[in-house]
Amino acid sequence: MTTQAEMTDVAHAPERVAEKSFIRKYVFSTDHKVIGKQFLFSSLFFFVVGGLLALLMRTQLAWPWEEIPVVGSLVYGSSGNILAPEAYPALVTMHGTIMIFFFIIPILSGAFGNFLIPLMIGAKDMAFPRLNLLSYWVMVPAFLVMITGFFVEGGPAAAGWTSYVPLSALPDKIPGSGMGQTLWIISLTLVGSASIMGAINYITTVVMLRAKGMHMFRLPMTVWALFITAILVLMATPVLTSALILIFLDRTIGTHFFSPSGGGQVILWQHLFWFYSHPAVYIMILPAMGMASDIISCFARKPLFGYKPMVFSIMAIAGLGFIVWGHHMFQSGMNPVLGTLFMTSTMMIALPSAIKTFNWLATLWGGQLQLKAPMLNALAFVSTFVIGGLSGVFAAATPVDVFIHDTYWIVGHIHYVLFGGSLFGVFAAIQYWFPKMFGRTMNETWGKVHFVLTFAAFNLVFFPMFILGAYGMPRRIADPYNYNFLAPLQSLNQFMTISAYVLALSQLVLFVNFFYSLFRGQKAVENPWQANTLEWATTSPPPEHNFHTAPMVYRGPYEYSSPEVTEDWLPQSRALDGAGPEKTPTGVAATGAATD
């Protein structure tokens, strides 16, 4: 494995590396920045796929069994341009699976984790660049296998992203229970392997490769969050792998781990699955929380309020996240005493989450707010995450969950935390770090347009879900209006579907802005946001080994509006008179530029 010792010593030699071939530079690269971008582009592709699947679902819920214009003939030609009844569970399954495993997790951890960690800690690259390369190229077969599912007989997996047994263990029960489900299992096993490789790399990199002066408690929250997320990935994902293996064996060689007829247990699947999948939801939110902290602090021109509590809260959320999985199983028939334990631990998670929320608010209070696109999206993150989190408290109360489990309340909850939370976090992160990644700036005005449209449409689509859920509308049913008591909900569903089309079209604004700026955006300066963290102390984009000279870190990342200097920002790597990395800077600001 490559160690730092084997990498080019750029401190003593100019960039003398021979020009790499296109393949080595952009396809099979070991450069974390390139790999990060590879994850970024594949994730964005799957975002579109997952979104289109959602639109098909929304169309069905608004106008069940109607002919779908334009798309209908492409996708459902064989069933008269109308959604085939057995296709709805497949839509539900693939929307969830793709959004979770091929969009949110790879974009937060794979794209931003890869791109940012070495830069923010002042390192040249990850600890194991070749392992990093391998982790992306293990994802590629995972992509291909999952996509193949759409084209096999019976179609893609249709047992829900949760793949509950007995349906998922029996190959001939419904279309989509066949090869599609098996391919789903194989694909996720590959995704899990890639994730674990990445986690080993990230954890090692953060512990081992920090620049001089970069103590753990001088790390930006983005790095802390990605670091703790990586620990979650490392410890939780293998349990999913074990579950996937057991169900694969049930399906292929005829074991009965999950079939009562052969002595197995149905709920065992749920326990194994949720033991991973609950930490998975924290894998999906923690990086966004970390990024929101950095972005809010920067655009409020104020230090992050309560840095250490923020760090410890992330640790608490992650730790508690391992002992709450049963709250997904309150209605499974498991022992109610067990349910009470899970209810208690689940409610406890609200505490560190609340600490973080209040600290974001306290950071904003009295700040010189710059309402640029990254900040607007970060603010949307905080507000919608609160709604999502509060709705989760209802679900955590087992007696309440009796009524709202498997209803649209839960769908509203998950989308407020995943779209409202993670995705607005992603929108903020994309616009904030785009200049650093690509050396150009995105258009600020269109960024604001995208934000306003998305925020409005998002709330119009997803808030009514709490109403639907409390009313009793179940999840995953292709035609809920079969039940007379739900028939009055159709008009609200139609309103939500139209809002969903608006939401989808609004993303075009972001995509056009993104791709146009990639080629024609204004060239970016080193530090367009006047931010403190180390990635801004190098060129946009950074050179191959990130920094021309290794940065020296003198302070934490949140010295905005510091009394030590006249500017309202004070980079981590800027030396002041009489300052060494271990001492507190004193006296008047020196005019020394940030380490270049």
């Binding site: 401190a11 040249k124 674990i196 103590h215 057991l246 197995g264």
Partner: protein, 197 residues
């Protein structure tokens, strides 16, 4: 907390005296522990919930496999001896102990194979018996990990034979040892919960 100074010097970064590779290796082993934890948890739940679990001493050859367990434990001892040898620069002992470890690993796998074929001849398959399915899956994945370890030992043995390890630089031996001990500890747990309890 120790920080890493890597740009000016080519010193391998360390944290609390642990090198980068060794740190990562421990993380890898932690993930492997979680993988087996999932399988073991499934086994415990299935067995506890099964009304007609066979009497293990009637189905499986406990004395043989107890002996096999001892063989694996001894192979961990020889592995420790190999590491101790290269720590003082004893190349000969290193080679002998590495060879012994590999040989014992192969013997372990062979006796596992004997157990499997005996059980199959009894008519216990993965399909017709939950006990069988659990047994073959747990011991199968453990065996796969031992096999991986034997492959690793082949590489380490070859490198030792050509003098690739020195008193000053022998991290590969240590990493091999860590993996081998992990595989041994997992086996002790599996043996206990499958054969003894």
């Amino acid at each position: 907390m120790a920080h890493a100074a890597v740009s000016e010097h080519h010193a391998t970064p360390t944290w609390q005296g642990i090198t980068t590779v060794k740190f990562a290796w421990w993380l890898f082993l932690a993930s492997e522990v979680m993988f087996f934890a999932g399988l073991i948890a499934a086994y415990i739940v299935l067995r506890a919930g099964s009304p007609d679990w066979p009497i293990v001493s009637e189905e499986l050859n406990v004395p043989l496999v107890a002996g096999n367990t001892l063989i694996l434990i001894v192979s961990s001892v020889t592995m420790v001896q190999a590491y101790a040898a290269i720590e003082v620069g004893d190349q000969k002992k290193l080679r002998n102990m590495l060879l012994a470890t590999a040989a014992l690993g192969v013997i372990f796998l062979s006796i596992q194979g004997i157990e499997w074929s005996a059980l199959l001849r009894e008519g216990v398959t993965a399909q017709n018996s939950l006990f069988g399915a659990s047994f073959y899956t747990l011991t199968g994945f453990h065996g796969a990990h031992v096999s991986g370890g034997v492959v690793g030992l082949v590489f380490v043995n070859l490198k030792a034979l050509r003098g690739g390890y020195t008193q000053a630089a022998h991290e590969g031996v240590e990493l091999m040892g860590l993996y081998w001990h992990f595989v041994d500890v997992v086996w002790i747990i599996l043996f206990t919960i499958i054969y003894l309890i």
